[in-house]
Amino acid sequence: MALLKIKFTQQRRVHLAQGLWLLSWMAVMWGGVIFCLGVYLKTELLRRAEVMDNTEIHVVPNILMMVGLASIGTNWVASRVCQDSLDPTRFPRWKVPLLAWFAVATVLCCLLIAVVALSYALQGSLEESLKVGLRNGIRFYKDTDVPGRCFQKETIDRLQMEFRCCGNNNFKDWFEVQWVSNRYLDFTSKDVKDRIRSNVDNRYLLDGVPFSCCNPTSPRPCLRYHLTDNNAHFNYDYQSEELNLYSRGCRQALTDYYMELMNSTGPGVLSVILIQLSVLLSLRYLQTAVETAMVLEDPEGDSEGYLLEKGVKETIEDLKINALTMLKFGQVDPNAAEGSSEVADAEKDEKDAPPSPAS
């Protein structure tokens, strides 16, 4: 009992082949789009690689790029198959490659679904990676004379200005690290000595932030130092001041940015999944319809196309048997002769057995 049989006249077969050819070229184009999306996402992640601790999130753009390229290849093959499908001399050579093609197309669809799932699942990992990366960035902000870290200051400053954020969780993160290098501190000054002695690690901590935390939309010129001291500035209240600095933390800003980027690729990926599935199903119908037509006496007559030759359960059983025979390749031959005679005897015994009690 074939699965989802459809009758195909010659006309319908031709239309199916033409439609599928167009669809597969559209799928090639969409595969290119997916590849470009993957490249863009990877570039954006690489640009901020300095504030990320690990590269787990890179698996999403890597899969997108791979799937994009593979999709271009497989759908191009599908279009070649369509071109050859109505020519009975050229179609038979595609018989075996088509099986491989179906397997590859299914794998591609599964990978695409996996990408969508991964982009949500890896959000936590991205946040962790950003937390560690930003913490290090803020800690090494002052080390502009240490090789390997001399550009941390510029990176963090540009990041805070571009993403309109300050610190890791918020601006108070800057109060906990020394972000002014010792080279620029006058150790003979009383104020500096007091601050250094005020904490265990002898760090110069202050309630101030770098200039890149300043919010340009504030009506007041930026206040950067003595932020917790209301008396240090005229008409200033630390609790109610909102516009002076950026209130968002950079980890939140970057996570939001990347999540939005990946969400916007969502519709594109879903439409590619749909197109790939429809190419897969249409090609299966075309293959079965053309094959059944070729064995008919009249090749131009009606034929049936189906998805699976037998029902789902029977197909799975067949596949299992095939797989087992392939695994037992060495053992099948010696046992085959004995096994079949044993089975025949067993059958004969069974047949003999019921009549005896009856009689």
Partner: protein, 341 residues
């Protein structure tokens, strides 16, 4: 004696028509490019209009948009004519429109040259507008409570950050204006009173700059205040300090941005120059017209740019213009003998 005659057989005519068709459709694409360049330029001017006192002239982008649209139309028509040129029936209906079309192409070329010239010349106007506009922007930086100017601070800060510049000519422009509003000044404080009294206009002037002048590439946390006072900061010499704040003025930064944009647009306009198209079309039409035997497409024909030599064509044109001018007199002279009779 035709000007620059060329012999054409069927093969050559077909090749000419095909080549010309390609050129026309490429020019349509370039026309679309010009249109989008015009829109881009208009948007950029609008974005920075606050820096230019809302006084900037939109003549060049408007002209570019118009030229882009015209280029698309003219070249599409030319392409259609080429497409139909080898079919005598279809070509017959285009024949009467060809002379006016070639004249239109001439006029369009003149317009293109004018646009390219304006692209190069208007840069001076942009420079002057920028100078005036930036001076006012710096003056109104503190007026975040005045309607109509409340976003000047944000715009100027974002401009200085984006273009990596400070002040009009350089950062010292900030020393000459009061850029902190009186709302945030404690007038009872002695320091403030000293500063306000130290100049004739009663402005609170200081040797400081806003945070947007800070250079992120400086190895040292940004020094914004007391810039000319070496003893105010440890290990600081304002004469040799280069990386602390941006040294370039915003007028120069913005001008170089706009001038590079306008120069490249002007060059692109010059590339659209249609003289090749016009010459090709003239050759094609004359070759088709001079076919001795219209029924036999394989016959040879001559093509040329001008029917007579250059001097004779000019002489003819001048004579025509003179007769146009003397139209009234010719009619009177004709009527008078009739009236006499």
């Amino acid at each position: 004696m035709p000007f620059m005659p060329v012999k054409f057989n069927l093969q050559k005519r077909v090749k000419l028509a095909q080549g010309l068709w390609m050129i026309y459709w490429l020019s349509v694409i370039v026309g679309i490019l010009l249109f989008s360049l015009g829109i881009f330029f208009k948007i950029e001017l609008r974005k920075r209009s606050e820096m230019m006192d809302n006084n900037e002239s939109h003549l060049v982008p408007n002209l570019l948009i118009l030229v882009g649209l015209l280029a698309c139309g003219v070249n599409a028509f030319g392409g259609k004519v080429c497409h139909d040129s080898l079919d005598p029936i279809k070509f017959a209906k285009w024949k009467p429109m060809l002379k006016p079309f070639l004249l239109l192409c001439c006029g369009f070329n003149a317009l293109l040259l004018l646009t390219a010239l304006l692209c190069f010349l208007m840069q001076f106007a942009v420079y002057l507008t920028l100078a005036e506009g930036l001076k006012n922007s710096i003056k109104f930086y503190k007026d975040t409570d005045t309607p109509g100017r409340c976003f000047m601070k944000r715009t100027l800060d974002l401009t200085q950050i984006e273009f990596r510049c400070c002040g009009n000519n350089n950062f010292r422009d900030w020393f000459e204006v009061q850029w902190i509003s009186n709302r945030y000044l404690d007038m009872s404080n002695d320091l403030v009173k000293d500063r306000v009294l130290s100049n004739v206009e009663g402005k609170y002037l200081m040797d400081s700059v806003p945070f947007s002048c800070c250079n992120p590439g400086s190895p040292r946390p940004c020094i914004q205040h007391h810039l000319t006072n070496n003893s105010a900061h440890y290990d600081y010499d304002h004469r040799i300090e280069e990386l602390n704040i941006w040294t370039r003025g915003c007028r120069e930064a913005l001008f170089s941005y706009f001038s590079s944009m306008m120069t490249s647009i002007g060059t692109c306009v010059l590339l659209v120059f249609l003289s090749v198209d016009m010459a090709g079309l003239k050759y094609l039409t004359t070759a088709l017209e001079t076919m001795e035997d219209p029924e036999n497409p394989e016959c040879e024909s001559d093509g040329w740019l001008l029917e007579k030599g250059v001097k004779e064509t000019f002489g003819d044109l001048l004579a025509k213009l003179k007769t146009l001018g003397k139209t009234n007199q010719v009619v009177e002279g004709g009527d008078a003998p009739e009236a006499a009779n």
